[in-house]
Symmetry: C2
Subunit: 591 residues, 2 copies
């Protein structure tokens, strides 16, 4: 069974010593002193360990079941969902006008990491609701907000996002779902949507579907797409639930992982829907939530990796096998714990250095979103827009790799379903795919974000890295960090230069290297995070921090990342500089 | 459902144009002319596509069931097993003295690739039998051989290998299973073995277990271990089956993949067993089969990747989504097939260039084994001994990565169990773990094989690479291959040098880099293979080969590998050269 303990200590370190949030001057951050965030994180950690983690295996083994048109979630999910609602965890960063607690998004992310680590599939019911809440909050009429938001803040009603159709996922322009306007201002929605996470279930009274569909007159492709609110049960004027709408579950997908979440085929048969936002501006409405949604998936990538890492560490300390080559470490036992072996340590260090770097990166991203929203900070907005595909793509690729590495520590035992490792690997896999497959993230990064606002944001990023390195010029201890970061940043700039020089003539010369660019940039970002964390750790030690083990461990883990992970940057650059030819050389029938 | 077509064309290319087997002067190879191998490969391909592939999904979905102490295999497995027996596929490279066909091991590998690609879990029943057959063939008395081998060659009786126990896998010295000598020369075997593939099932009349156990007087650790033959049903003097032996299935493991194969906990309760080979020399007896067994697992790594790649290519040609950025390729359709997109092509090229390189590498390895056995070629024996951990470790790591990449091509569809991609990924995962987890392969390579016979074999390998590059000095077209290969080989040598200079003082300095060394060496080996294949392809084109598409595609695929995969070598070297410090810096409780 999955055992998970939230790493609140590291979260506190990132929030208060790296991001220094209470000094950040962001409205809503004033309250976030050490004691307050510790109390919130401890409480969330307790729910994660005691309520969610024990249900993670249950969800995987039992899965969801479709019976007589209704989805039944795994045993215990309903009680846990009630506990989440009662604890106010669904409302943390929601608008107080609608019953939310008005906390910063950053705090919601920190808490979200725990919920995902302990039970990713379960957390999606609330996560999808939050996405739908944000869409209605941003684009709804006052009446729509009043009708739906209070119930969604509490998760009495949950939400979904309906984009994909059987024949179109990435290319939404091919969408077939239709919206026919009615005299009363509503629309009749007809079509089939697939891969709808939390599409139906028994955890809430109502499900509020947000559905992309084509209404007449919008033109070809994505231009004609609008966004609609389609509740499972129609809502009466007094807010009570009325009759069942014309939406039903066609099928429950059998999938590799996240079995505890109901992935549904949804059939809309003339279902009543109401326009959300402007007619024919549905794509734009979806995109406004994309940074948050994608950051949330990047978070899933490393949060599952964190859970897997914790299991691997515990196993490596417990399992005895072989002897330390430099001399027995546990001579009283028949063998040493496998954590003594350098290759086991390599795996654990890969995992630890990734997860902690990813946590800092994601929290920083969430902080940028708060700055953008609360301070209307355009630079933060531009920066997070640039970073979003990296957070999503890099962290989910590496998160999966980390889960696989953690599974490897278990040897044959990790392959059996008696241990939680198979589930972590299978669950982590989806994050590389949904919310825009990682190849699409790379395309977004190289094809759109690099050049956004005349390349201003990527230039600002390079300046930020440069300034970070310069700031530590006087600290000899920081050299392993700043030297490696400078070098990696130069390689990233060289890759960007290659795209500029070659991508104009031949877009394929840039697109062939887009995936490598995303990874190269991911390493630079984690290198930047490790540089900041190392400085914060040195500062704490200089100030006589009592917990030397933590800070020294932090510095050593950072050194590992700089020394052993950043060399990937040169590889990615070398690949990028081969351009389009190697990738595009074959004719289709030569494959 | 899984659709698979054996790539006999590429196999023929490797056998006849790269390895030039009919000119190789190995006894038994004389018969292997183009027509003969084509006939065998075509016939095996037909069985793979028509009999095995259709059962792959069945095996995954249905799995094995333990009922009243007996394991039932998935529906259709029994008929397919009969077809394999009747076709003589179980006997291909077995000794004619015991009913085998006496074909070279190399041919068995080529055919084996197809069987694994089409149905890995199914093929293990026969694969394990082959391993047990080899052990008895190498170490059995004449009587033992006469009793067991004819039935095992036909797979009327199948075999297993019993090493692992709940508390010991890698560290077999901790083994607890006991063998008590009886007056009649037999032993009573008592203990529990786990992870026993094909441990019990309904495909054969008898199961011949080879069991490692400790007999009195052998001393501590692995020294006291002996190998025993323990049949499920005792064999009467006339060869008929007698009473049930004291061995039973304790449990069937639930695992991430290879569901069609029965992974059993085997309980030995005073089961009657007979010593195989010398008393207390059981480890040595196991090790003599290890090269073949590990090569067989390396083969699984790329064979599953081949199956996944085939699915990905078919999907990428069929699925339409988005437009080619350089202009529509299928203007008559609503969108272009996704194979037009550079990032999809990158994934397919990664897959193709790996699988074809891995095939050549594995066939070459099998050829070395044939040379070692049939010609008593010591150099070949030393070389394959060196290569074995690379074939096993590198090809299974990259095979899994390739299956994941092929799954990625499918987007969300690849995550559902409606398509075969999840199964390929889940099946491929085990090959990184069993038959010595890949970290153990790296340890074997760096801790044992590099220094074997005074480092003679690794020096011979470097000379071979050098000679290969030199041989193409006069061919300008080969420069992209030889330049990249020379560079990678230099990096590998530098890594070896680092180990020599640092590993003596501190073994952890070498062991911290062992995994990277294994991967670095894997890339050099595949670089060598691609150099040979490119030359063979240029030669064919020079000689006016009609199938220009194939040979030009081969060269382009090789160029891709050299340009886009070999840059990983510098990364591995950089990691290796950081030595032990980054890996070993943390105290246990800092994890």
């Amino acid at each position: 069974m999955s055992s998970y303990t939230a790493n609140t200590k590291d979260m506190q370190f990132v929030l208060h010593e790296v991001l220094k949030i209470s000094e950040a001057g962001v409205p809503g951050y004033e309250e976030l002193d050490r004691d307050f965030t510790e109390a919130v994180l401890d409480a969330a950690g307790k729910v994660s360990s005691e309520v969610l983690a024990p249900l993670n295996e249950v969800g995987d083994k039992e899965g969801c079941v479709l019976e007589n048109g209704v989805v039944r979630t795994p045993k215990g999910f309903d009680a846990a969902f009630e506990a989440m609602k009662e604890g106010g965890w669904t409302a943390l960063d929601c608008d107080p006008d609608y019953g939310g607690q008005g906390m910063p998004y950053l705090l919601n992310c920190a808490v979200g990491e725990m919920f995902v680590s302990s039970n990713m599939a379960f957390n999606m019911y609330q996560g999808l609701t939050h996405g739908a809440y944000s869409a209605i909050h941003a684009h709804g009429t006052d009446e729509q907000k009043a009708t739906y938001l209070p119930k969604m803040v509490t998760c009495d009603w949950t939400g979904t996002m309906n984009l994909t159709e059987p024949h179109c996922g990435t290319d939404l322009g091919m969408m077939r779902t239709k919206a026919e306007p009615q005299d009363d201002g509503s629309y009749l929605i007809t079509g089939t949507k697939i891969f709808i996470s939390a599409g139906d279930h028994d955890l809430s009274e109502n499900v509020i579907h947000l559905v992309l569909a084509k209404a007449p007159g919008g033109g070809e492709g994505t231009k004609g797409i609008s966004l609609f609110i389609v509740p499972k049960f129609l809502v009466n004027e007094d807010g009570s639930l009325g009759e069942r709408n014309g939406v039903s579950v066609g099928k429950l997908e059998e999938k590799m992982g996240i079995h505890g979440n109901a992935t549904c085929v949804m059939n809309y048969d003339g279902a009543k829907g109401w326009l959300l936002g402007d007619l024919h501006k549905g794509m734009r409405a979806m995109f406004t939530m994309m940074n948050e949604a994608r950051l949330g998936v990047g978070l899933q990538g490393y949060a599952v990796a964190e859970a897997a890492y914790q299991e691997a560490v515990a196993y490596a300390k417990d399992r005895i096998q072989g002897r330390d080559v430099t001399g027995a470490k546990a001579p009283e036992k028949a063998a040493d714990p496998i954590i003594v072996h350098p290759d086991v340590r390599r795996m654990l260090m890969d995992q630890k250095s990734f997860v902690e770097g990813a946590r800092a990166f994601t929290f920083w991203g969430a902080h940028l979103i708060d700055r953008a929203h609360k301070l209307d900070d355009k630079e933060a907005d531009g920066l997070i827009s640039l970073m979003t595909p990296v957070i999503k793509g890099f962290l989910t690729d590496k998160g999966f790799e980390t889960a696989v590495s953690a599974q490897q520590v278990f040897g044959g035992h990790g392959y059996t379903e008696d241990w939680p490792m198979s589930q972590h690997v299978r669950d982590a896999r989806i994050a590389m795919i949904y919310e825009g497959a990682n190849g699409i993230q790379a395309l977004d990064l190289v094809g759109r974000k690099l050049a956004q606002d005349g390349g201003k944001h990527v230039m600002a990023f390079f300046e930020m890295v440069k300034a970070e390195c310069k700031a530590h010029d006087d600290d000899e201890r920081m050299k392993p960090f700043t030297d490696a970061l400078k070098n990696a940043s130069k390689q990233l700039q060289a890759a960007g230069m290659f795209f500029m020089q070659n991508g104009m003539k031949n877009p394929n010369a840039a697109l062939s290297g887009s995936y490598d660019f995303m990874h190269l940039m991911g390493h630079v970002c984690l290198g930047l995070m490790w540089t900041r964390m190392a400085k914060a750790a040195f500062t704490a030690l200089d100030n006589g921090a009592s917990d030397k083990d933590f800070y020294e461990g932090k510095i050593a883990t950072g050194r590992y990342y700089m020394a052993r992970q950043l060399p990937a940057c040169a590889m990615h650059l070398a690949r990028i500089e081969t351009g389009a030819d190697p990738v595009m050389a074959l004719a289709d029938d030569q494959f």
